[in-house]
């Protein structure tokens, strides 16, 4: 369980996250949605101690993230930020192997190597394992990074907009994969998403943020409603049920 209590963060005069208290249950997929500038990424960064908070506390299974030693936390929780320009030429296998660093401290055991193999296979990267990252397509590279955090083998896996730069096929593939990670590997997956319909189709719980605050929290059926979405995005979104999933039709929404 991840618990945030009255967490705040400002950048200069701008209050980006404003006293958010939220509990993310263990297990399943939790999607964080909301308009641009709602504070989703900043909240995720504070939960994963990439960014210090100005006020409040975050605990992961009772461990205070600002006080727990980094290497202890690295075995509980992993975070993948939006892909930044990686200038380091690593092979896919080398990158994924770095996911084992919190466990192996640079001295990989046979078990570590087996886990690297397994993570590569799980993401269908076997064939590409010897290729350099800068020789891959955007989708393949994104998969390599996800393989790395899965290889880290933490209970909690946090991902900030992992669908960025992915085409439809790869976006769907990525969401299926995260769903499988939750169902088959018992991971708790927390993922920032822009597309509300991916959240609706793949998440167990949706956290909706707006203006630095938690606006709504609940299962997709509760969040995927026209009045909630109107409140959140300030446009009219019709919601239809298609194949048992609630889909927001925002393409010709009126402001």
């Amino acid at each position: 369980m991840i618990e945030a209590r009255s967490v705040s963060k400002s950048y200069g005069p701008a209050l980006v996250v404003d006293g958010v208290s939220v509990t993310i249950p263990k297990g399943g997929v939790t999607a964080v949605i909301g308009p641009n500038g709602a504070g989703k990424s900043t909240l995720l960064s504070m939960v994963s101690r990439l960014v210090g908070m100005d006020a409040g506390t975050v605990t992961v299974d009772g461990l205070d993230v600002s006080r727990t030693p980094g290497d202890v936390l690295a075995r509980r929780l992993s975070i993948l930020r939006q892909e930044q320009a990686v200038t380091v030429r690593l092979t896919v296998a080398d990158l994924v192997a770095f996911g084992r660093y919190p466990h192996s401290k640079g001295r990989p055991t046979i078990e570590d190597e087996a886990r690297v193999e397994a993570a590569l296979a799980w993401l269908g990267l076997d064939e590409l394992s010897g290729r350099f990252l800068d020789e891959l397509s955007g989708g393949q590279r994104q998969r390599a990074f996800v393989a790395m955090v899965l290889c880290q083998d933490t209970d909690y896996v946090l991902l900030d907009e992992p669908l960025n730069n992915l085409d439809l096929k790869h976006a769907v593939g990525m969401m299926r994969l995260l769903r499988r990670a939750a169902d088959e590997l018992d991971k708790t997956v927390v993922v920032v998403l822009h597309d509300i319909n991916f959240a609706s189709c793949y998440a167990d719980t949706i956290l909706a943020m707006k203006n630095g605050r938690l606006a709504h929290q609940g299962p997709p059926a509760e969040i995927m409603r026209p009045e909630v979405l109107r409140d959140l995005y300030e446009i009219e979104v019709d919601v239809e049920e298609i194949g048992g999933k609630r889909i927001g039709l925002y393409f010709d929404a009126r402001g």
């Binding site: 990686v86 690593l90 919190p102």
Partner: protein, 317 residues
């Protein structure tokens, strides 16, 4: 590992050639027959050759670490203000405490190098747009400012000649008893090997390092200390060797990638081999006179650097 065997043998070959190239007749045959030749070998040729290996390996490794820490291919101690700051420190030590032992001067130079490189990273963290070319440009400009200050004081106090010696690497003055400080550089290079994984992770960025439970600031501090000390040692003993830290890691990276654990020994060997080869060329090209190695490395290095730039054109955007 077979990949390391070939460059290791090549460096060994160059090492032997370097021992037996020079004005005086020193060859495997003469050292057995002539005690003077043996003396020359032990006092001059062997120290010079060892100094070449240690300085080359150290500067190339320092370049590799800088590139990981700055997350940029085009930085090295001479494009980040490190060399210039070390020279300023050396000048300050020479002016304020003329009788100071070389080790003390090196300490002052290290401190200045550390401050100068720290300033470089502090400026970088405030530059909003960190494009590939802005990073070395910032370093070159900073180096220019520092070196202007150094030149001013050197000019006022009649030390321009010493300044020239620090800025241009030259191994012709290396004798037994005057290069041993470089073993410190060897120890630091080994320390860098041991922390190889950390530097790779630092190269992936602060978020990656934190996610993997590593203290990013500590890695930065450790890496910068190694770079500053190696640079200071090399500047104090033989003078700066430009381009080395740029060319060697980039060439190795093209073939083997950037996993520091795998790359660092090759970079160190490459640096040693490159410097040995350039020094031999400098000794042979207009014998019995010598061309300083800084000049040879400058010519060969800039040509190689241009080649790298052209090959990496697509990355610069």
């Amino acid at each position: 590992m077979p990949t390391i065997l070939v460059p290791a043998l090549a460096v060994l070959g160059l090492f032997l050639v370097s021992l037996f190239v020079g004005v005086s007749d020193v060859s495997p045959a003469t050292i057995l027959a002539d005690p003077q030749a043996l003396e020359l070998l032990l006092v001059s040729r062997l120290p010079r050759t060892i100094a070449l290996v240690l300085a080359g390996a150290g500067m190339a490794t320092a370049g590799l670490i800088m590139q990981m820490l700055a997350r940029n291919r085009f930085v090295e101690p001479s494009t980040a203000g490190t060399v210039e700051s070390a020279s300023l420190g050396l000048l300050a030590a020479t002016l304020l405490a003329p009788g100071m032992a070389p080790l003390g001067k090196m300490g002052v130079a290290t401190l200045f190098a550390l401050l100068g490189t720290g300033l470089f990273f502090a400026i970088l963290s405030r530059v909003p747009l960190r494009s590939t070319l802005i990073v070395p440009l910032v370093g070159i400009m900073l180096g220019g400012v520092v070196s202007a200050v150094t030149t001013f004081f050197a000019y006022r106090f009649d030390l321009l000649q010493s300044l020239g010696a620090w800025a241009t690497g030259d191994f012709s003055g290396v004798l037994r008893g005057r290069y041993e400080l470089l073993y410190l550089s060897a120890a630091l290079t080994l320390a860098a090997f041991l922390a190889a994984d950390r530097f790779t992770v630092a190269g992936l960025g602060e978020a990656f390092a934190t996610n993997l439970g590593l203290n990013y600031r500590r890695i930065m501090g450790f890496g910068l200390s190694i770079v500053a000390m190696v640079t200071a040692v090399v500047v104090v003993t033989v003078g700066a060797i430009p381009f080395l830290g740029l060319v060697v890691p980039n060439l190795v990276s093209m073939v083997v990638g950037d996993n520091v654990r795998r790359v660092a020994p090759l970079v160190a060997l490459g640096g040693a081999g490159f410097v040995l080869a350039c020094d031999i060329v400098g000794r042979v090209v207009r014998a019995p006179y010598e061309v300083p190695i800084g000049t040879v490395v400058g010519v060969v290095g800039s040509a190689l650097f241009l080649a790298i730039l052209l090959r990496r054109r697509h990355e610069l955007g």
